[in-house]
Point group: C2
Chain length 400, copies 2
């Protein structure tokens, strides 16, 4: 089944720069049931470190188990990713496939298998034939190139309707630094997916432990603030590979002003990719931003915002372009977080609707209906109990 392209799909894939220390290739390995690209290899220079976060699901695939074990233990030399099969709930055969894959990649590059990251996305519960992957690794190695981003971003897709890439150029101590990211994911609603993957590469020289902090901090405000359908994949993974190919002075402190620019550029790439994932949510017609303020703390604000953004009632109201603010109020109530009913304010598209425990005086539905007819829906909420705030992003689901 060919899915209809998202109305948010960009006209073309962005031009992404080469990143010193990173080579990429992709091929058709026959894992997907068509002739599309489905296997991708990235190779990194020996000094590269990796940081990353993985799904919080208690049910994970063999690749996630492998990556959890090797993360932070060795320098990182390679990443291999297939689409079309998630290698989840595949028993000991699944583990065997991952091991054979990492060993073959390590053999070709000349490194420890623990320096190889392995990811899979696609159907759950079907055996992933290691031969299809292993037999293609020599070819992938021989076709490595610094500019294969579009092929790489395409090879990791499943039900996505467009490839996703983003980049920023920044500086550390006057040295130009490149950050390039690719991602896949469009919710877990479509056929058999197991789902979100994102890879960021940079030529900055960041110690592994500091990179890990930067990734967790960045993800908490970007990828962990988006929601398509509230389902949690068995395979979600995001990695940052930092090659250190640019010879700037080593950074020893997370708050060193020298990396302030890098930190914010990294967060911009993460946010851009996260938004691209939401905008390719299954059948998404509306991009929804929910901002919550005056919560007990930032975590409570995020929880309220996610509850609003995940509510089927709110999603259907947005899909139907119906300014039904009662549903927003309902979702705030069900979040389990503290709020003061008489202090809650609800805005849609900047128009104050609910206030002081009832509909705002002089509220007219017209401007809100007009806002809701657009593609980008903004909901602002104040809950009157503290200084916590958060922004999350989601989409409607009704046209899935």
């Amino acid at each position: 089944m060919k899915l209809k392209k998202s109305p948010f799909a960009p006209l073309k894939f962005p031009k992404l720069p080469a990143v010193p220390g990173v080579m990429v290739s992709a091929c058709t390995a026959g894992i997907k049931n068509n002739s599309q690209l489905d296997l991708m290899l990235m190779v990194f220079r020996p000094e590269t470190i990796a940081a990353g976060v993985m799904t919080k699901s208690s049910i994970t695939g063999a690749p996630v188990d492998w990556n959890r074990r090797v993360l932070g233990t060795h320098n990182s030399r390679a990443l291999i990713v297939n689409s079309g099969n998630a290698n989840v709930f595949t028993g000991s055969k699944g583990t065997e496939t991952v091991t054979k894959t990492a060993e073959k990649v390590a053999d070709v590059i000349g490194c420890n298998p623990n320096s190889v990251f392995v990811c899979s996305t696609g159907t759950i519960g079907e055996h992933l034939d290691s031969k299809k992957i292993v037999d293609n690794i020599d070819n992938l190695y021989q076709t490595l190139d610094t500019n294969n981003w579009l092929k790489a971003a395409t090879a990791i897709l499943t039900t996505d309707t467009y490839p996703k890439g983003s980049s920023r150029i920044t500086t550390i101590d006057g040295n130009e630094i490149k950050i390039v990211g690719i991602a896949k994911g469009s919710g877990m609603i479509a056929p058999n997916m197991a789902t979100m993957l994102a890879y960021i590469v940079t030529d900055a020289k960041i110690p592994q432990k500091m990179a890990q902090i930067l990734v967790e901090e960045g993800v908490s405000k970007t990828f962990n603030c988006i929601t398509v359908d509230s389902d949690t994949s068995t395979s979600d993974s995001l990695f940052l590979f930092s090659t250190g190919a640019t010879d700037h002075p080593t950074i020893h402190d997370i708050d060193d002003p020298a990396i302030a620019g890098f930190r914010s550029a990294l967060n911009e790439v993460l946010l851009d990719l996260a938004h691209q994932v939401i905008k390719d949510g299954e059948g998404a017609q509306k991009f929804i931003e929910v901002r919550v303020e005056e919560a007990l703390n930032n975590g409570a604000a995020r929880n309220i915002a996610l509850t609003v953004c995940n509510s089927p009632l709110v999603k259907t109201a947005v899909a139907g372009e119906d300014p039904n603010w009662g549903r927003i109020v309902m979702a705030i109530g069900k979040s389990g977080e503290e709020s003061i009913q008489n202090q809650i304010s609800v805005y849609i598209g900047g128009t104050l609707i609910a206030h002081n425990g009832e509909v705002a005086k002089h509220y007219r539905e017209g401007p809100v209906k007009k806002h809701m007819a657009g593609r980008n829906i903004k909901i602002n909420i104040k809950v009157g109990v503290g200084n916590g705030s958060a922004t999350v992003w989601g989409c409607d689901l009704t046209h899935a």
Copy 2:
């Protein structure tokens, strides 16, 4: 908009017996935007006690606040319910409407206003004109009858496609006891609803504190084990009114064998009504039962079962009659509850599909596809960590 009748709608409303000590009436008060019944009054004999549970949302309507305050403080003389307006997020005017309503009912019956329960269901955030209710109370009082169940069950509906009633006849110490219940609710997906209401009446003589225990125990295995869309209403309320009109010996202990039959008959009425609510879920085409065993405890089992039953991925698989067990596995993983991946078993319609961490040997999709083509879908899960079990019920949502 007229909603299409649920395929699960019964051919006709069940014949419900009169309950000694209970009189009922209903009328058209013009609160709904059509000429349908929208106001219902029940009057109880003076010795009646009430037990009940209400929404856990932190945002509640004025009626819920009123009922929370009076529950268990006085004998109960009356219940008045309107549909078409939930009287939620209506500020001090909302409280005023509830107070005026209770005072007028109390005045007509000759009782304390705190003996009157007031419920509202319908749109959130619109002022509910007390005049529409108060002006109809004399008329409602004059038309009270012991057999007005169908009118009462109809007057409390909003987007439901059929009225919901259930009854059982049992005995306590050889005395015949009647239990009659009516309910409304079909999820929170449709226009402006705020939502589930259920009222059970009996002529048994049960002390209030014991009735409260029986209700909480019964609800935990019935109404708290159903899910249409995961949204939580601002108005959900369930009350049991026990008139004591049947003169059996007083029950002093919850485990007195004399009420074992009553207890199970009450739970049957609760379960029957809960199932009727699910089967009228917005656009429901499939009734889903999820049974979880071998969880750490019963609460963990219920949480896993609800996570599976609420998962948009699982719902769409059921709607599409696709035996996509990977989605069930995914939902178990996201529940946050303990499970041992290699010990998980998943059955659909009695067929073992996943087992020992991978697809079951000799699994054939045919019988499962056939089961999924039916209306009643059974999913059984074992998670291999303990003795906890729970059953929950839900429906697909795709046709809403």
